[in-house]
Protein backbone atom coordinates (compact mmCIF):
# COMPACT_ATOMS: atom_id res chain seq x y z
CA UNK A 1 0.00 0.00 0.00
CA UNK A 2 2.80 2.43 0.89
CA UNK A 3 4.34 1.76 -2.48
CA UNK A 4 1.14 2.84 -4.21
CA UNK A 5 1.02 6.03 -2.15
CA UNK A 6 4.68 6.84 -2.95
CA UNK A 7 4.03 6.25 -6.63
CA UNK A 8 1.09 8.64 -6.63
CA UNK A 9 3.07 11.22 -4.66
CA UNK A 10 5.94 11.02 -7.13
CA UNK A 11 3.52 11.63 -9.99
CA UNK A 12 2.08 14.63 -8.14
CA UNK A 13 5.52 16.09 -7.43
CA UNK A 14 6.59 15.61 -11.06
CA UNK A 15 3.50 17.39 -12.32
CA UNK A 16 4.01 20.35 -9.97
CA UNK A 17 7.62 20.60 -11.15
CA UNK A 18 6.76 20.20 -14.82
CA UNK A 19 4.04 22.85 -14.77
CA UNK A 20 5.83 25.21 -12.38
CA UNK A 21 2.56 26.68 -11.11
CA UNK A 22 -0.43 25.79 -8.97
CA UNK A 23 -2.45 22.85 -10.29
CA UNK A 24 -6.20 22.94 -9.64
CA UNK A 25 -8.14 19.69 -9.65
CA UNK A 26 -11.88 19.86 -9.16
CA UNK A 27 -13.83 17.02 -7.60
CA UNK A 28 -17.43 16.89 -8.79
CA UNK A 29 -18.91 14.69 -6.11
CA UNK A 30 -19.98 15.50 -2.58
CA UNK A 31 -18.90 12.10 -1.32
CA UNK A 32 -15.38 12.74 -2.64
CA UNK A 33 -15.39 16.09 -0.82
CA UNK A 34 -16.28 14.40 2.47
CA UNK A 35 -13.76 11.58 2.01
CA UNK A 36 -10.97 14.04 1.11
CA UNK A 37 -11.55 16.11 4.25
CA UNK A 38 -12.37 13.19 6.53
CA UNK A 39 -9.15 11.40 5.60
CA UNK A 40 -7.04 14.56 5.53
CA UNK A 41 -5.99 13.89 1.93
CA UNK A 42 -5.91 17.62 1.22
CA UNK A 43 -3.24 18.09 3.89
CA UNK A 44 -0.89 15.51 2.39
CA UNK A 45 -0.69 16.94 -1.12
CA UNK A 46 2.17 19.01 -2.55
CA UNK A 47 1.54 22.70 -1.83
CA UNK A 48 1.03 23.47 -5.52
CA UNK A 49 -1.69 20.84 -5.95
CA UNK A 50 -5.01 22.31 -4.94
CA UNK A 51 -8.37 20.56 -4.73
CA UNK A 52 -11.52 22.51 -5.55
CA UNK A 53 -14.95 21.26 -4.50
CA UNK A 54 -17.20 21.60 -7.53
CA UNK A 55 -20.93 21.31 -8.10
CA UNK A 56 -21.06 17.69 -6.97
CA UNK A 57 -23.64 17.86 -4.23
CA UNK A 58 -27.19 17.78 -5.63
CA UNK A 59 -28.60 19.64 -2.65
CA UNK A 60 -26.06 22.43 -3.09
CA UNK A 61 -26.69 22.98 -6.80
CA UNK A 62 -30.48 23.08 -6.48
CA UNK A 63 -31.62 26.60 -7.25
CA UNK A 64 -33.44 28.66 -4.67
CA UNK A 65 -36.31 29.05 -7.15
CA UNK A 66 -36.91 25.29 -7.07
CA UNK A 67 -37.00 25.28 -3.26
CA UNK A 68 -39.51 28.15 -3.38
CA UNK A 69 -41.77 26.00 -5.60
CA UNK A 70 -41.54 23.14 -3.08
CA UNK A 71 -42.37 25.51 -0.22
CA UNK A 72 -45.36 26.84 -2.12
CA UNK A 73 -46.71 23.34 -2.74
CA UNK A 74 -46.14 22.44 0.92
CA UNK A 75 -48.59 25.18 1.87
CA UNK A 76 -51.42 23.42 0.05
CA UNK A 77 -53.72 21.28 2.16
CA UNK A 78 -54.28 18.84 -0.69
CA UNK A 79 -50.55 18.07 -1.09
CA UNK A 80 -48.10 15.89 0.74
CA UNK A 81 -44.45 16.60 -0.01
CA UNK A 82 -42.22 13.50 -0.16
CA UNK A 83 -38.55 14.40 -0.03
CA UNK A 84 -35.13 12.95 0.61
CA UNK A 85 -33.98 14.09 4.04
CA UNK A 86 -31.13 16.15 2.59
CA UNK A 87 -33.54 18.73 1.21
CA UNK A 88 -35.42 19.50 4.43
CA UNK A 89 -33.08 22.22 5.63
CA UNK A 90 -32.17 23.87 2.32
CA UNK A 91 -33.22 27.51 2.45
CA UNK A 92 -35.50 29.07 -0.14
CA UNK A 93 -36.31 32.76 -0.21
CA UNK A 94 -38.43 32.44 2.93
CA UNK A 95 -37.30 29.63 5.17
CA UNK A 96 -36.95 25.92 4.48
CA UNK A 97 -39.23 22.90 4.67
CA UNK A 98 -37.98 22.42 8.21
CA UNK A 99 -38.61 25.94 9.47
CA UNK A 100 -41.75 26.67 7.49
CA UNK A 101 -43.64 23.43 7.62
CA UNK A 102 -43.11 21.20 10.58
CA UNK A 103 -46.63 19.80 10.31
CA UNK A 104 -47.87 16.78 8.48
CA UNK A 105 -47.40 18.14 4.97
CA UNK A 106 -43.83 16.95 4.58
CA UNK A 107 -42.61 13.36 4.75
CA UNK A 108 -39.02 12.22 4.48
CA UNK A 109 -38.56 9.22 2.20
CA UNK A 110 -35.56 7.05 1.40
CA UNK A 111 -36.59 6.23 -2.14
CA UNK A 112 -39.03 7.08 -4.91
CA UNK A 113 -40.77 3.80 -4.12
CA UNK A 114 -41.57 5.06 -0.63
CA UNK A 115 -43.12 8.17 -2.19
CA UNK A 116 -45.24 6.00 -4.45
CA UNK A 117 -46.35 3.96 -1.44
CA UNK A 118 -47.39 7.20 0.28
CA UNK A 119 -49.62 7.90 -2.71
CA UNK A 120 -51.27 4.49 -2.33
CA UNK A 121 -51.71 4.99 1.41
CA UNK A 122 -53.09 8.55 1.13
CA UNK A 123 -55.57 8.58 -1.76
CA UNK A 124 -57.08 11.89 -0.59
CA UNK A 125 -53.77 13.74 -1.04
CA UNK A 126 -51.57 14.46 -4.02
CA UNK A 127 -48.06 13.25 -3.30
CA UNK A 128 -45.37 15.55 -4.72
CA UNK A 129 -42.05 13.76 -4.90
CA UNK A 130 -39.15 16.22 -4.65
CA UNK A 131 -36.98 14.55 -7.27
CA UNK A 132 -33.46 15.88 -6.95
CA UNK A 133 -30.09 14.31 -7.56
CA UNK A 134 -27.84 13.45 -10.46
CA UNK A 135 -27.90 10.45 -12.77
CA UNK A 136 -27.62 8.01 -9.86
CA UNK A 137 -31.01 9.07 -8.50
CA UNK A 138 -32.88 9.85 -11.72
CA UNK A 139 -33.49 6.21 -12.76
CA UNK A 140 -35.18 5.53 -9.41
CA UNK A 141 -37.60 8.39 -10.10
CA UNK A 142 -38.18 7.09 -13.61
CA UNK A 143 -39.08 3.62 -12.34
CA UNK A 144 -41.62 5.10 -9.91
CA UNK A 145 -43.20 7.20 -12.67
CA UNK A 146 -43.50 4.15 -14.94
CA UNK A 147 -45.11 2.19 -12.11
CA UNK A 148 -47.51 5.02 -11.34
CA UNK A 149 -48.50 5.07 -15.03
CA UNK A 150 -48.93 1.29 -15.20
CA UNK A 151 -51.02 1.18 -12.02
CA UNK A 152 -52.84 4.48 -12.67
CA UNK A 153 -51.75 6.01 -9.40
CA UNK A 154 -52.96 9.46 -10.32
CA UNK A 155 -52.36 11.15 -6.98
CA UNK A 156 -48.59 10.77 -7.46
CA UNK A 157 -46.47 13.39 -9.20
CA UNK A 158 -42.86 14.35 -9.52
CA UNK A 159 -41.23 17.78 -9.26
CA UNK A 160 -38.17 16.96 -11.29
CA UNK A 161 -35.04 18.89 -10.45
CA UNK A 162 -32.74 16.08 -11.57
CA UNK A 163 -29.46 17.37 -12.90
CA UNK A 164 -26.87 16.07 -15.33
CA UNK A 165 -23.20 16.20 -14.38
CA UNK A 166 -21.50 16.59 -17.76
CA UNK A 167 -23.30 19.82 -18.86
CA UNK A 168 -22.19 21.45 -15.57
CA UNK A 169 -18.57 20.46 -16.19
CA UNK A 170 -18.82 21.90 -19.69
CA UNK A 171 -20.20 25.16 -18.32
CA UNK A 172 -17.43 25.48 -15.76
CA UNK A 173 -14.77 25.04 -18.44
CA UNK A 174 -16.54 27.54 -20.70
CA UNK A 175 -16.29 30.31 -18.10
CA UNK A 176 -13.52 32.76 -18.90
CA UNK A 177 -12.18 33.00 -15.36
CA UNK A 178 -12.09 29.28 -14.59
CA UNK A 179 -8.90 27.80 -13.18
CA UNK A 180 -9.61 24.08 -13.55
CA UNK A 181 -6.82 21.85 -14.86
CA UNK A 182 -8.59 18.50 -14.47
CA UNK A 183 -11.61 16.76 -13.00
CA UNK A 184 -11.78 13.97 -10.45
CA UNK A 185 -15.04 12.46 -11.67
CA UNK A 186 -17.79 10.99 -9.47
CA UNK A 187 -17.79 7.27 -8.71
CA UNK A 188 -21.40 6.24 -8.43
CA UNK A 189 -22.74 8.66 -11.03
CA UNK A 190 -20.27 6.94 -13.35
CA UNK A 191 -21.73 3.54 -12.44
CA UNK A 192 -24.82 4.77 -14.29
CA UNK A 193 -23.43 6.96 -17.10
CA UNK A 194 -20.15 5.05 -17.65
CA UNK A 195 -16.71 6.67 -17.79
CA UNK A 196 -17.13 7.04 -21.56
CA UNK A 197 -19.53 9.92 -20.83
CA UNK A 198 -16.60 12.17 -19.93
CA UNK A 199 -14.86 11.68 -23.29
CA UNK A 200 -16.57 14.76 -24.73
CA UNK A 201 -15.07 16.95 -21.99
CA UNK A 202 -11.60 15.61 -22.73
CA UNK A 203 -12.05 16.08 -26.47
CA UNK A 204 -13.58 19.53 -26.32
CA UNK A 205 -11.49 21.07 -23.55
CA UNK A 206 -8.36 18.93 -23.30
CA UNK A 207 -8.76 18.41 -19.57
CA UNK A 208 -8.05 15.03 -17.92
CA UNK A 209 -11.13 13.31 -16.46
CA UNK A 210 -10.40 10.52 -13.99
CA UNK A 211 -13.10 8.52 -12.21
CA UNK A 212 -12.30 7.36 -8.67
CA UNK A 213 -14.09 5.54 -5.87
CA UNK A 214 -14.40 6.96 -2.39
CA UNK A 215 -11.81 5.23 -0.29
CA UNK A 216 -8.61 7.23 0.25
CA UNK A 217 -6.37 5.05 -1.93
CA UNK A 218 -8.73 5.46 -4.89
CA UNK A 219 -8.68 9.23 -4.52
CA UNK A 220 -4.90 9.40 -4.09
CA UNK A 221 -4.30 7.18 -7.11
CA UNK A 222 -6.87 9.16 -9.11
CA UNK A 223 -4.97 12.34 -8.33
CA UNK A 224 -1.74 10.57 -9.25
CA UNK A 225 -3.18 9.62 -12.63
CA UNK A 226 -4.39 13.18 -13.24
CA UNK A 227 -0.91 14.47 -12.43
CA UNK A 228 0.71 11.94 -14.76
CA UNK A 229 -1.45 13.22 -17.60
CA UNK A 230 -0.79 16.87 -16.76
CA UNK A 231 2.99 16.30 -16.58
CA UNK A 232 2.90 14.53 -19.94
CA UNK A 233 0.68 17.28 -21.35
CA UNK A 234 -2.00 14.84 -22.36
CA UNK A 235 -5.68 14.46 -21.48
CA UNK A 236 -7.53 11.16 -21.26
CA UNK A 237 -10.58 9.61 -19.69
CA UNK A 238 -9.58 7.02 -17.15
CA UNK A 239 -11.36 5.03 -14.46
CA UNK A 240 -9.53 3.94 -11.33
CA UNK A 241 -12.80 2.49 -10.04
CA UNK A 242 -12.78 -0.60 -12.21
CA UNK A 243 -14.64 -2.66 -9.58
CA UNK A 244 -17.97 -1.10 -10.51
CA UNK A 245 -17.50 1.50 -13.27
CA UNK A 246 -17.50 0.40 -16.91
CA UNK A 247 -17.10 2.48 -20.04
CA UNK A 248 -20.78 2.08 -21.00
CA UNK A 249 -22.27 2.25 -17.50
CA UNK A 250 -25.64 0.78 -16.56
CA UNK A 251 -27.45 0.79 -19.90
CA UNK A 252 -30.76 -0.38 -18.39
CA UNK A 253 -30.77 2.68 -16.14
CA UNK A 254 -29.80 4.96 -19.04
CA UNK A 255 -32.68 3.60 -21.13
CA UNK A 256 -35.21 4.14 -18.36
CA UNK A 257 -33.98 7.73 -17.91
CA UNK A 258 -34.24 8.32 -21.67
CA UNK A 259 -37.69 6.78 -21.81
CA UNK A 260 -39.14 9.01 -19.08
CA UNK A 261 -37.11 12.21 -19.24
CA UNK A 262 -35.70 14.69 -21.71
CA UNK A 263 -32.90 17.15 -20.98
CA UNK A 264 -34.01 20.78 -20.90
CA UNK A 265 -32.33 24.05 -19.91
CA UNK A 266 -32.26 24.40 -16.15
CA UNK A 267 -31.11 26.66 -13.35
CA UNK A 268 -28.21 25.77 -11.07
CA UNK A 269 -27.25 27.62 -7.96
CA UNK A 270 -24.06 29.53 -8.70
CA UNK A 271 -23.84 28.44 -12.31
CA UNK A 272 -27.03 30.03 -13.63
CA UNK A 273 -28.85 28.62 -16.59
CA UNK A 274 -27.23 25.59 -18.21
CA UNK A 275 -28.42 24.23 -21.52
CA UNK A 276 -29.88 20.74 -21.55
CA UNK A 277 -28.76 20.12 -17.96
CA UNK A 278 -32.00 19.33 -16.16
CA UNK A 279 -34.35 16.38 -16.64
CA UNK A 280 -38.00 17.07 -17.42
CA UNK A 281 -40.64 14.36 -17.69
CA UNK A 282 -41.52 13.59 -21.29
CA UNK A 283 -44.94 14.53 -22.66
CA UNK A 284 -46.27 11.00 -22.36
CA UNK A 285 -45.76 11.21 -18.59
CA UNK A 286 -46.86 14.85 -18.26
CA UNK A 287 -49.78 13.93 -16.00
CA UNK A 288 -47.17 12.97 -13.38
CA UNK A 289 -45.27 16.25 -13.83
CA UNK A 290 -45.94 18.47 -10.81
CA UNK A 291 -45.01 21.60 -12.79
CA UNK A 292 -47.85 20.77 -15.21
CA UNK A 293 -50.32 19.58 -12.67
CA UNK A 294 -50.14 22.72 -10.56
CA UNK A 295 -49.31 25.01 -13.48
CA UNK A 296 -46.24 26.41 -11.80
CA UNK A 297 -42.90 27.53 -13.15
CA UNK A 298 -39.57 27.86 -11.47
CA UNK A 299 -38.32 31.43 -11.26
CA UNK A 300 -34.58 31.51 -10.71
CA UNK A 301 -33.88 32.59 -7.16
CA UNK A 302 -31.87 35.64 -6.31
CA UNK A 303 -29.73 35.29 -3.25
CA UNK A 304 -29.69 38.41 -1.17
CA UNK A 305 -28.29 36.90 2.02
CA UNK A 306 -24.65 37.59 1.11
CA UNK A 307 -24.08 33.86 0.84
CA UNK A 308 -21.30 33.00 -1.65
CA UNK A 309 -22.11 29.32 -2.19
CA UNK A 310 -22.29 29.98 -5.94
CA UNK A 311 -18.63 31.01 -6.09
CA UNK A 312 -17.66 28.08 -3.85
CA UNK A 313 -19.42 25.68 -6.24
CA UNK A 314 -17.47 27.09 -9.20
CA UNK A 315 -14.17 26.70 -7.36
CA UNK A 316 -13.62 30.48 -7.44
CA UNK A 317 -13.33 30.92 -3.67
CA UNK A 318 -12.78 28.66 -0.68
CA UNK A 319 -15.49 28.61 2.02
CA UNK A 320 -13.63 30.74 4.61
CA UNK A 321 -13.43 33.56 2.05
CA UNK A 322 -17.18 34.03 2.51
CA UNK A 323 -17.80 36.56 5.28
CA UNK A 324 -20.71 34.49 6.67
CA UNK A 325 -18.63 31.29 7.05
CA UNK A 326 -18.36 30.11 10.64
CA UNK A 327 -20.09 33.28 11.88
CA UNK A 328 -23.72 33.58 10.88
CA UNK A 329 -23.45 30.38 8.79
CA UNK A 330 -22.65 27.11 10.58
CA UNK A 331 -23.96 23.53 10.26
CA UNK A 332 -26.37 24.24 13.15
CA UNK A 333 -27.64 27.44 11.61
CA UNK A 334 -26.83 27.27 7.90
CA UNK A 335 -27.46 30.15 5.51
CA UNK A 336 -26.38 28.49 2.27
CA UNK A 337 -26.85 24.98 0.87
CA UNK A 338 -23.11 24.15 0.94
CA UNK A 339 -23.35 24.41 4.74
CA UNK A 340 -26.72 22.61 4.93
CA UNK A 341 -25.71 19.44 3.19
CA UNK A 342 -23.28 17.14 4.97
CA UNK A 343 -21.68 16.73 1.54
CA UNK A 344 -21.32 20.46 0.96
CA UNK A 345 -17.90 22.06 0.74
CA UNK A 346 -18.65 24.60 3.51
CA UNK A 347 -19.91 21.91 5.87
CA UNK A 348 -16.83 19.75 5.24
CA UNK A 349 -14.52 22.73 5.78
CA UNK A 350 -16.30 23.69 8.98
CA UNK A 351 -16.33 20.20 10.48
CA UNK A 352 -12.95 18.85 9.52
CA UNK A 353 -10.66 21.88 9.20
CA UNK A 354 -11.89 23.40 12.42
CA UNK A 355 -11.34 20.05 14.10
CA UNK A 356 -7.77 19.98 12.81
CA UNK A 357 -7.08 23.47 14.07
CA UNK A 358 -8.18 22.46 17.54
CA UNK A 359 -5.73 19.55 17.71
Amino acid sequence: MLERIYKAQTLMDSACKALGRQINVMEVCGTHTVSIFRNGINTTLPKDLKLLSGPGCPVCVTDQGYIDVVLKLAERDDCLIATYGDMIRVPGTEGSLETKHTGGNVKVVLSSEDALQLAKDNPEKTIVFVAVGFETTAPATAVAVKEAAAENIDNFCVLSGHKLVVPAMRTLLSQKNHNIDAFLCPGHVSVIIGFGAFAEIVEQFGRPCVVAGFEPMQIIEGLGEICRQLAEDTAEVKSMYTAVVTEQGNTVAQKIIAECFEPVDGWWRGLGKIERSTLKLKDKYSRFDAFNRFDITETPGEDISGCRCGEVLCGLIEPPQCSLFGKSCTPDGPVGPCMVSSEGACSAWFKYKRERRRQ
Binding site: C29, G30, T31, V34, S35, R38, G56, C57, P58, V59, Y84, D86, L110, S111, S112, E113, D114, G133, F134, T136, T137, P139, A140, V143, P186, G187, H188, V189, V191, I192, G213, F214, E215, A243, V244, N250, V252, A253, I256, P331, S341, E343, K351, E355
Partner: protein, 76 residues
Protein backbone atom coordinates in the same frame (compact mmCIF):
# COMPACT_ATOMS: atom_id res chain seq x y z
CA UNK B 1 -26.19 11.87 -1.76
CA UNK B 2 -24.68 9.93 -4.61
CA UNK B 3 -23.07 7.37 -2.32
CA UNK B 4 -24.39 3.92 -3.02
CA UNK B 5 -24.21 1.30 -0.26
CA UNK B 6 -23.00 -2.25 -0.86
CA UNK B 7 -25.53 -4.79 0.38
CA UNK B 8 -26.27 -8.49 0.00
CA UNK B 9 -29.55 -9.69 -1.46
CA UNK B 10 -31.10 -11.90 1.22
CA UNK B 11 -34.61 -12.15 -0.25
CA UNK B 12 -35.71 -11.80 -3.85
CA UNK B 13 -39.15 -11.98 -5.44
CA UNK B 14 -39.42 -10.64 -8.96
CA UNK B 15 -37.62 -7.30 -8.77
CA UNK B 16 -38.39 -6.82 -5.08
CA UNK B 17 -35.48 -7.61 -2.80
CA UNK B 18 -34.53 -7.36 0.84
CA UNK B 19 -30.87 -6.50 1.24
CA UNK B 20 -28.48 -6.56 4.16
CA UNK B 21 -25.82 -3.89 4.64
CA UNK B 22 -23.68 -4.07 7.76
CA UNK B 23 -26.48 -5.89 9.59
CA UNK B 24 -29.19 -3.44 8.53
CA UNK B 25 -31.93 -4.92 6.40
CA UNK B 26 -34.00 -2.85 4.03
CA UNK B 27 -36.06 -3.09 0.85
CA UNK B 28 -34.49 -2.53 -2.55
CA UNK B 29 -35.51 -3.16 -6.13
CA UNK B 30 -33.50 -4.85 -8.84
CA UNK B 31 -35.37 -3.25 -11.77
CA UNK B 32 -32.14 -1.60 -12.97
CA UNK B 33 -30.03 -4.72 -12.52
CA UNK B 34 -31.95 -7.65 -13.94
CA UNK B 35 -29.02 -10.07 -13.60
CA UNK B 36 -28.98 -9.73 -9.81
CA UNK B 37 -29.54 -13.03 -7.97
CA UNK B 38 -30.24 -14.10 -4.41
CA UNK B 39 -26.98 -13.91 -2.45
CA UNK B 40 -25.35 -11.34 -4.76
CA UNK B 41 -23.62 -8.27 -3.41
CA UNK B 42 -24.96 -5.15 -5.06
CA UNK B 43 -24.54 -1.38 -4.80
CA UNK B 44 -27.83 0.11 -3.63
CA UNK B 45 -28.68 3.75 -4.26
CA UNK B 46 -31.98 5.39 -3.29
CA UNK B 47 -33.67 2.02 -2.98
CA UNK B 48 -32.37 0.52 -6.22
CA UNK B 49 -29.54 -1.91 -6.97
CA UNK B 50 -27.39 -0.22 -9.63
CA UNK B 51 -24.40 -2.55 -9.97
CA UNK B 52 -22.93 -5.85 -8.84
CA UNK B 53 -19.95 -5.46 -6.55
CA UNK B 54 -17.35 -7.91 -5.27
CA UNK B 55 -16.73 -8.80 -1.65
CA UNK B 56 -13.43 -6.96 -1.36
CA UNK B 57 -14.84 -3.72 -2.76
CA UNK B 58 -17.93 -3.99 -0.55
CA UNK B 59 -15.78 -4.41 2.55
CA UNK B 60 -13.76 -1.28 1.70
CA UNK B 61 -16.92 0.81 1.39
CA UNK B 62 -18.47 -0.62 4.57
CA UNK B 63 -15.27 0.24 6.40
CA UNK B 64 -15.34 3.80 5.06
CA UNK B 65 -18.97 4.23 6.09
CA UNK B 66 -18.26 2.83 9.56
CA UNK B 67 -15.34 5.26 9.96
CA UNK B 68 -17.42 8.25 8.91
CA UNK B 69 -20.26 7.21 11.24
CA UNK B 70 -17.85 6.68 14.08
CA UNK B 71 -16.26 10.05 13.50
CA UNK B 72 -19.64 11.74 13.31
CA UNK B 73 -20.74 10.14 16.58
CA UNK B 74 -17.63 11.28 18.43
CA UNK B 75 -17.21 14.75 16.99
CA UNK B 76 -20.34 16.22 15.53
Amino acid sequence: MCLAIPARIVELQGDKAVVDAMGNRFKAKTTLLSEAKLGDLVLVHAGFAISLVDEEEAKKTWQLIAEINDYARKNL
